[in-house]
């Protein structure tokens, strides 16, 4: 037993606080928008140049001029504002976004994050990920705890090229929730039906008490 994609997204949504401006990455982080708690008002930023991102359009109402950072058609909301990409990253770099929720290939116990390239494989680029992890107030990573080979993705140090150094604050994986603290990671929560032993066994990084 462990959390599935939707449960991870739902758990990540608990991180959100009322009034926050938030950037959600591609993949599981996108699903977080479906689980924003009642009474919590969150404004989603899309780094191509939009605050107040709404849901996908109804069929037939797609607008080629209205897309998100994943290039998907979206809609606007009553509070929406559009701006150019230099302004968009000015607010990201300037610390105006309270939180980014992102996927990861690897996270290290010191908060290093790798999520953009695998040497020798197809490199498509970092997009806005390096700017986000360098600039936003809090970085939460949502990912599977292990790769398809069963190897830990929560490491003593990343083997892949970094997206950012010491940037991750919290990891939400299928096995539970861990915080980056001095000396390593601290278990905050175990996923449903996961034991601490299981989580520790799947984690290469140092876990502190």
């Amino acid at each position: 037993m462990a959390w599935d994609r939707n449960q991870m997204a739902a758990r990540a949504a608990q991180e959100l606080q009322d009034g926050w401006y938030v950037n959600l990455g591609i993949g599981i982080p996108t699903l977080v928008a479906n689980y924003i708690p009642k009474g919590v008002e969150v404004t989603l930023q899309s780094e191509n140049g939009m605050l107040g991102m709404g849901p996908f359009p109804f069929e037939g109402e797609e607008d080629a001029d209205l897309i998100n950072a994943g290039k998907q058609t979206v809609t606007e909301l009553p509070q929406t504002a559009f701006f150019d990409s230099s302004q968009s990253f000015a607010m990201i770099r300037g610390g105006k976004i309270a939180m980014a929720i992102l996927g990861a290939m690897e996270v290290a116990e010191n908060g290093d994050l790798a999520n953009w390239m695998i040497p020798g494989k197809l490199v498509k680029g970092m997009g806005g990920a390096m700017d986000l992890v360098a600039g936003v107030g809090r970085v939460v990573v949502v990912m599977d705890h292990t790769n398809k080979a069963g190897e830990s993705k929560v490491l003593k140090s990343c083997s892949l090229p970094l997206t950012g150094k010491a940037v991750v604050d919290r990891i939400i994986s299928n096995l539970g929730v861990l915080d980056v603290v001095p000396g390593g990671l601290k278990i905050v929560e175990l996923a449903d039906g996961v034991t601490e032993a299981e989580l520790r066994a799947a984690t290469e990084a140092n876990i502190v008490n």
Binding site: S46, E47, N48, G49, M50, P55, F56, P57, F58, E59, G60, E61, E62, D63, A64, D65, L66, I67, N68, G70, K71, Q72, T73, V74, E76, F82, F83, D84, S85, S86, S88, F89, A90, I92, R93, D112, L122, V123, K124, G125, M126, G127, G128, A129, M130, D131, A134, G135, P161, L162, T163, G164, K165, A166
Partner: protein, 234 residues
């Protein structure tokens, strides 16, 4: 002061040369200068370096200039929605300089604003920082990034007036305003040229001073990822 040209070929006349640096607006296929890209293909200008967040798709947008091998180097943040791109990239026929997206946007803005260099935290401790000057401010480390000044900027706007004032629509604004500022010459293609005085001066995104030539034309405006939701039954 005649800024309005009859078509993309006329608007680019005299601005193109082999080995030049072109800054292009657009994000994915949204807000890209379709008509100007097609005209550059037709002109056959070679050994281009193109600063653009992405590089189009096979056969559309900047992807067209890959088919003709006109691009020598891309300065981008995310590429490879495009089989031909990947083929040229992997075979080292095409050079790619990866820039974090915000760094690329700011480099264009800086180049247009007379700022040759600025410090950013983005990329510190990553391969992006290699070979770049590091400097501490208030106990934190930053790297020096350079402004981009292009030989030519090509952008796509929604509306223009004859003085070159531009208005963009929704997220099609994206990289277009910073790209417009960083070119020694900027050519803009728009969906509609409106009479002078019909744009509200408080709502102009790119003032005409940045824009040297304008054309009006039809745009395909292709959608890259058509995502929708179903209407709930009433």
């Amino acid at each position: 002061m005649k800024k309005v040209f009859k078509d993309a070929d006329a608007a680019l006349d005299g601005t193109l040369f082999d080995g030049m640096l072109i800054a292009a607006g657009g994000f994915g296929l949204c807000g890209i200068p379709e008509l100007l890209i097609a005209a550059i293909k037709k002109a056959g200008t070679k050994n281009l370096t193109v600063a653009s967040n992405n590089c189009g798709v096979d056969g559309f947008g900047l992807g067209q200039l890959l088919d003709t091998r006109q691009i020598k180097k891309m300065m981008s943040s995310y590429v490879g929605e495009n089989a031909e791109f990947m083929r040229q990239f992997l075979s080292k026929e095409l050079e790619v300089e990866f820039n974090p997206q915000g760094t690329l946007a700011e480099r264009m803005r800086a180049g247009g604003a007379g700022i040759p260099g600025f410090y950013t935290k983005t990329g510190v401790g990553t391969i992006i920082a290699e070979g770049k000057e590091h400097k501490d401010f208030n106990g934190e480390t930053y790297i020096l990034e350079r402004g981009i000044v292009a030989d030519l900027s090509i952008v796509k706007a929604w509306k223009a007036d004859p003085s070159g004032n531009l208005v963009f629509r929704k997220t099609a604004r994206n990289f277009n305003p910073p790209a417009a500022t960083c070119g020694k010459i900027c050519v803009a293609e728009v969906e509609e040229i409106v009479p002078l005085g019909s744009l509200d001066p408080d709502t102009i995104h790119t003032p005409g001073i940045y824009v040297h030539r304008i054309i009006q034309g039809e745009h395909e405006k292709r959608i890259e990822q058509r995502t929708t939701r179903k209407r709930e039954a009433a």
